[in-house]
Subunit: 512 residues, 2 copies
């Protein structure tokens, strides 16, 4: 693999070099973890889940629907294919997965913002897939491409969001069969961070790869990961034609797929954590193995989205202890498979950015970081079980992500960290405020939440008694006003727009 994007003409290369020089505020492109991962299952427990997953794949099997090529590939690989049902002998999926990379770089058009997915790294990406957007001023409404662009801009501006994400909200004002073009273009044009592609049809995946070729150079794209994509299973134990088609396009193009069993436990899996884990491991292994059958060595991620449901209403619930357990155990299982892991985020069922939203979000986000999740979608902005992307919630969550980045560093045990000189020079009963060590370290010493009010009650009262959501509203508005687009080579921009125009003119609008 080559190290740097390099496209046809010299003009492209030079343009990219110039762009790199004008990069705005330097940020940490992703988190390199320096703390141990949390464990919830011991060796015996992990082996039990693995054995059960193998039993599921071997006995029940898994449906690969509407995709003849998938069935052929599985047959060739030695699986028992019966109609669309694929039964995978014990150990075969694991063996096939040995070609999958343990970690890989997803390149951003700004090389300083490329992310390493896997290993000891964590990448935070925005909310994905919300049909609605909400803010305090305009309330809840269907998302538009303007809202989409606003979220892309906010993610670009947030130093602790490492990735531009994918369908941050559905641009419902654009036809279904064409909106992917505007979404992909928005990520490319209004951010310089890494992004996600379309998965709603194989030809839309192909459009994403084409546009990536224009942005990064075709050769570069064939040899490097420049787009990552979300492939859900239909639990229990089904992959459908749409998802398989998209996964095939991306794997063949050497682009990354996140194979994510989407499970509302109790409905789409057993009502227990151990049962759900075995099923999701089976689904993830089968889906990931498929990408390796398409193109061995193509980057793939073990994904997990699990929520439990409320028995009163059937509604998904978030921030539950069961969710934390499943997330943590699944991360352990992914590490044993030797593949990157996606899960977690700032999830909640709340309709507004209130205490419920924050309790539930932190109950997912903190375990996400602690369990060693490598790629976290929905890390900012998620509300209402994913139905709504909230602008204030986005700002509040992003502030939390900054705290996670600090926690991941662990405790500084250098001499400066130990601060024994400061302790020696500070008499019992006096204070540390004036010590040389304090003065030298204060600025960088503690993480401070930008959205928190730490003032006295009296000051807070005098300032208008604002809650966190109100403060976040002001911040998001100010950020959008301050936004400046990252530079792009005008030739590339033109080529991208020309491609979109051509594709849009090639077929009539449709909402399928």
């Amino acid at each position: 693999m080559s190290d740097k994007p390099a496209r046809g003409g010299r003009r492209g290369r030079e343009a990219r070099k110039a762009q790199r020089a004008s990069t705005p505020v330097a940020v940490s492109p992703y988190i390199k973890r320096n703390i141990p991962c949390t464990q919830i299952l011991d060796e015996e427990g992990l082996q039990l889940i693995e054995a059960n997953a193998d039993t599921i794949l071997e006995e029940t099997g898994i449906d690969f629907r509407g995709h003849a090529r998938a069935l052929e590939l599985w047959k060739e690989a030695g699986a028992d294919v019966d109609g669309e049902r694929v039964r995978i002998p014990r150990g075969l999926a694991h063996k096939i997965l040995k070609t999958a990379p343990r970690e890989f770089t997803q390149h951003a058009r700004n090389p300083a913002r490329s992310v390493v997915i896997g290993g000891n790294n964590t990448v935070f990406a925005p909310v994905y897939g919300a049909p609605f957007v909400t803010d305090m001023e305009r309330g809840r409404r269907y998302g538009t491409i303007e809202d989409f662009r606003d979220f892309v801009k906010l993610a670009y501006l947030e130093p602790n969001i490492h990735h531009s994400g994918g369908t941050v909200c559905e641009p419902v004002d654009l036809p279904v069969n064409k909106r992917h073009l505007d979404m992909v273009y928005s990520h490319m044009r209004w951010s310089d961070k890494a992004f996600m592609g379309s998965v709603t049809a194989p030809e839309r995946a192909a459009d994403t790869v084409e546009m990536s070729g224009i942005l990064f150079g075709k050769e570069f794209v064939d040899q490097n990961c420049v787009v990552i994509n979300l492939i859900n299973s239909n639990a229990p134990l089904v992959f459908d034609a749409t998802m398989l088609g998209a996964a095939e396009v991306y794997a063949a193009a050497n682009q990354a797929s996140i194979i994510s069993p989407f499970i509302l436990a109790g409905a789409m899996s057993p009502v227990t954590a151990a049962g759900t884990l075995a099923q999701l491991l089976a689904e993830a292994m089968a889906g990931m193995a498929f990408t390796q059958l398409v193109r061995p060595g193509s980057p793939v991620v073990f994904g997990t989205f699990v929520s439990s449901i409320s028995m009163q209403s059937g509604a998904p619930t978030f921030g539950t202890p069961e969710g934390t357990m499943i997330l943590t155990a699944a991360a352990q299982l992914a590490r044993r498979l030797g593949v990157p892991f996606r899960s977690g985020g700032s999830l909640t069922a709340s309709k507004v950015a209130d205490a419920q939203a924050a309790y539930e979000s932190t109950n997912t986000l903190l375990p996400t970081l602690q369990a060693g999740v490598n790629f976290s979608l929905h890390a900012a902005g998620w509300l209402e079980g994913g139905l709504s992307a909230g602008f204030e919630k986005f700002i509040l969550d992003a502030d939390q992500l900054g705290g996670m980045a600090v926690l991941a560093k662990g405790i500084d045990l250098t001499e400066n960290g130990q601060a024994m000189d400061a302790i020696r020079e500070t008499e019992p009963g006096s204070h540390h405020l004036g010590s040389a060590h304090t003065q030298a370290n204060f600025e960088s010493a503690f993480y401070r939440y930008a959205t928190a009010d730490n003032n006295s009650y009296e000051q807070w009262d005098a300032d208008g008694r604002e809650d966190a959501c109100t403060r976040a509203h002001k911040i998001y508005k100010e950020k959008l006003v301050s936004y400046e687009a990252p530079p792009i080579d005008p030739g590339i921009d033109e080529a991208l727009q020309a491609f979109m125009t051509q594709r849009k003119e090639a077929e009539p609008d449709s909402n399928i």
Copy 2:
């Protein structure tokens, strides 16, 4: 040590037996953890902090102020005593601490609610020390004994709050030199859970022990822990006469002290986690060793309260990553010392139960459970850096504690937990809702937050668009209406009231 409370007359014993029979709703008296504790420092890091703490005790030393007996005890034990400064040779504090119990039972007057403090157990107790109380209806105001009783009643009713706590709010309407009597009596009378005693003067500690003797029987109290007490150091490196006096009374009476360095890092300790850890370990070891010098074998707890400060305002900040790191490392250090550990809670600087309050609280509470904290004060109701006890916040936090109890159980790996039969009988593409396994397990399967709204947006909108704080307000009001006092032997109640009257009449009211 005897196993059961047994007091003088037969009447007392029988009354207690009758009371036991009428115990309301059975609850889990405390959490028995079944998941691994989080680690943030490795062996080398832990040894480094321990060595630095020993260096601090040996070189700088620590002040035991205004308490001649403490200085005598330290001299006898082999420390270098210079005025009020006590320098403790390397290893001496650790050696003295070998008599401290690794875990102990704090008896409640209802034996079904006694708690084990230490080991793999976690006990959650309410907010402590708030001069103000707040709720949505009446706003923020000074606490009264009526508010105090309301919090005691709410803690009694909450199944996931294991302890009645201590100064849940300051009853500012009562004179300072007498309010401890009403506080201790409220815990004894309006709850049957374990509680905390007064530490604001040695004679108030003695009153607490006396009243405990009336409730549990004098002999029982001498041989068993029935009250636990919060002893703060004045960081850096000072214990004052008030705290030492109270700690001495309790240790001599075989009652438990939590020796808690109270540290606003950056002001009262270095601005780094490693420096703060060394200082707090030194302070905690010296204070705990003092209790063992007073009475070897008396129960003692390694306490930690650490917050960082905002450099803009000097205000304490909560839910920060540094707080999580220090809490987690201190729990590791306490386990190595072989003593129970107190820290954490649901801490926040927010003035209201909004998103800030919940983000910050969960960022402390979840690490509290994960790190293996044995006793967590402030687990419910804390607002505004501890200046205010919030009724709605109390309800919201208590709901979170229920989630922590489930998380602590870990993943059920029994056959029922594995649910392989359910997976076998559920065809790919169908669903688990109707399976026998789902029907058998649904009720107990997932924790559901009682304060959360998981309904659809439309339903929530129709229901009046309430946020979590508004829902919690209704719940707290309803709970207080539903409250019924646990039964108490009228003879004991009379004796407690007579003691209080006598003590109140013995001296004039004073606000010192």
